[in-house]
Symmetry: C2
Subunit: 315 residues, 2 copies
């Protein structure tokens, strides 16, 4: 074959971000906003992207090594993913995304998952979604160090997923949720946000207590999802948001948005993902997208994706 294209759903964290890093449970959902990663026969290894932060740069990667300071994160993920495979063939990897990177939608994980899914099929391997998830997580960890398995698993497997406490399990939640979602640019890097939480944590045991409560909110949310109780679920979103905000990981515009939604009597909203800007989710109702747009957020297609990553051969 000449090329393989992977369609990777992006994801939204519904509950438990940050706490999940410390072993607490989390809930994430794959969405219909997708990223395309195409692997194509080529004389040399080339990475290109007409979106994301690397713009239209084309990088010759015959050596499969790169000076990381000169390269951005997307590129380093592609290289790390390609380097995972023993069977190295020169390919043109192109990444196409309609959303900005680093806004809490799992684009970093999606790049890795997309390369693993498309390149593996290109070289004749037949990985299951679970294998793609596992391999992608390994690669992500080797590049990032910290973080959770949530993004790689959710973008690989699709659906509504529950990540239990202190475990490597992933469980499907038998439920449904209509959400509205949007994002703004992040004002603070993940590294700085993680530093803030750590600094606060070093000063006492308050952070652990707050993480405990976030863990309980996540468990209650799981039950609310299973029983279809949108009203409780929404209230838990507000609670989870306030707890994240108390940790200093939110953003003025988003705090005001969520607080406005609550004062307008909307069912529920919260920040989603690492914070410092980034994504916001709300229980979907007529007012929710209007509110998100009115505060300058870019709307994303937040219908649930239940397939996970898919690939097709293009001849």
């Amino acid at each position: 074959m000449r090329s393989v294209e992977a369609i990777v759903p992006l994801k939204l964290t519904l509950f438990g971000e940050h706490a999940v890093v410390y072993g607490y449970p989390a809930i994430a959902m794959a969405i219909s906003e997708t990223m395309k990663v195409r692997v194509e026969k080529s004389d040399k290894t080339i990475v290109s992207s007409n979106t994301l932060t690397i713009g239209n740069i084309k990088v010759d990667l015959d050596e499969m090594r790169a000076e990381s300071s000169q390269l951005n994160r997307v590129l380093s993920y592609v290289i790390a993913a390609l380097n995972y495979f023993q069977d190295r063939r020169p390919v043109h990897v192109s990444v196409e995304s309609t959303v900005e990177p680093s806004v809490g939608l799992g684009t970093s994980a999606a790049v890795i998952v997309g390369v693993v899914a498309s390149y593996s099929r290109y070289i004749g391997l037949n990985y299951s979604p679970e294998e793609i998830a596992k391999i992608s997580r390994e690669i992500e960890r080797s590049v990032q160090g910290l973080g959770s398995r949530m993004d790689t698993y959710t973008t690989s497997l699709g659906g509504l997923l529950y990540f239990p406490r202190n475990s490597d399990d992933v469980m499907r939640i038998n439920g449904n949720l209509q959400i509205a979602a949007g994002y703004i640019r992040r004002a603070t890097s993940t590294a700085e946000i993680l530093r803030r939480v750590k600094r606060l944590r070093d000063r006492g045991h308050i952070v652990d207590k707050i993480m405990d409560v976030i863990g309980e909110v996540t468990e209650l949310a799981r039950k609310a999802l299973e029983s279809g109780d949108d009203s409780l679920l929404g209230e838990l979103m507000y609670v989870n948001h306030g707890l994240l905000s108390s940790l200093g990981v939110s953003h003025p515009t988003i705090d005001e948005l969520v607080s406005t939604a609550r004062s307008l009597g909307m069912k529920g909203c919260k920040m989603s993902g690492g914070g410092g800007g980034g994504s916001v989710i709300c229980v979907r109702e007529p007012k929710s997208e209007i509110l998100l747009e009115s505060k300058g957020l870019k709307i994303v297609n937040s219908e649930i994706n239940s397939t996970g990553v898919t690939t097709k051969e293009i001849n």
Copy 2:
């Protein structure tokens, strides 16, 4: 004597609002923004106020009974306070305040404390500040039902006060804190805010857990006050604010203000009092009042008052 004037300091809650209603500890501070309550010899009992919500209304109260639906809260507090005394003499009670009522500054309590202090002296009783506090609290409870002893005690006694968990004790905190404070009108009534917390509480044990954390934040804040650690104290303000916000008792403008302060690297800010608008406090630094004013808050004189209520005879 012809008349007695009481000068009553207003107050700011530093930590533990809402949680104090459920038996958790709290910290409050009397401030230099004051209310004047004057009791003057008169043929009939008259209540007047050129500030507060009753405006310039003068009400003849020969009967010392009032149709409460026609009267506002300030008036009902004055009447309840006068009715406390066996020795009833016709007086003209005038209340003068420079701040709006119901913004978390303890104006309701200050009215009661002011009447108790000035009227008792007018009829020849010599109450200690502790007696004034105790009597005022009794009167407040008879009118309000709910609430905490914090406001009546702080406006009576002055200073920086710690209200321990599940106790009627009040302890002075040996520390100092320079704060900036301002307020906006409240968008939500205390009754509605208390209903919100109760509704959330009825749905699970999450609210109790959050109250627990607020209690611990308050204990840490007490130590930080005693050791003069403004930086920790400020961080605890942010944490306390987020926890209050998770309970749905905050306000969009105030959430944005506090979040902006945090993102600007300011030491600490939080809502203060019942919420739904009302007061905000920040660790005082050059930027803090400018930020408060820029968000439309009216600045109050938040220097500490250490005398509590004082009275003087005017002949």
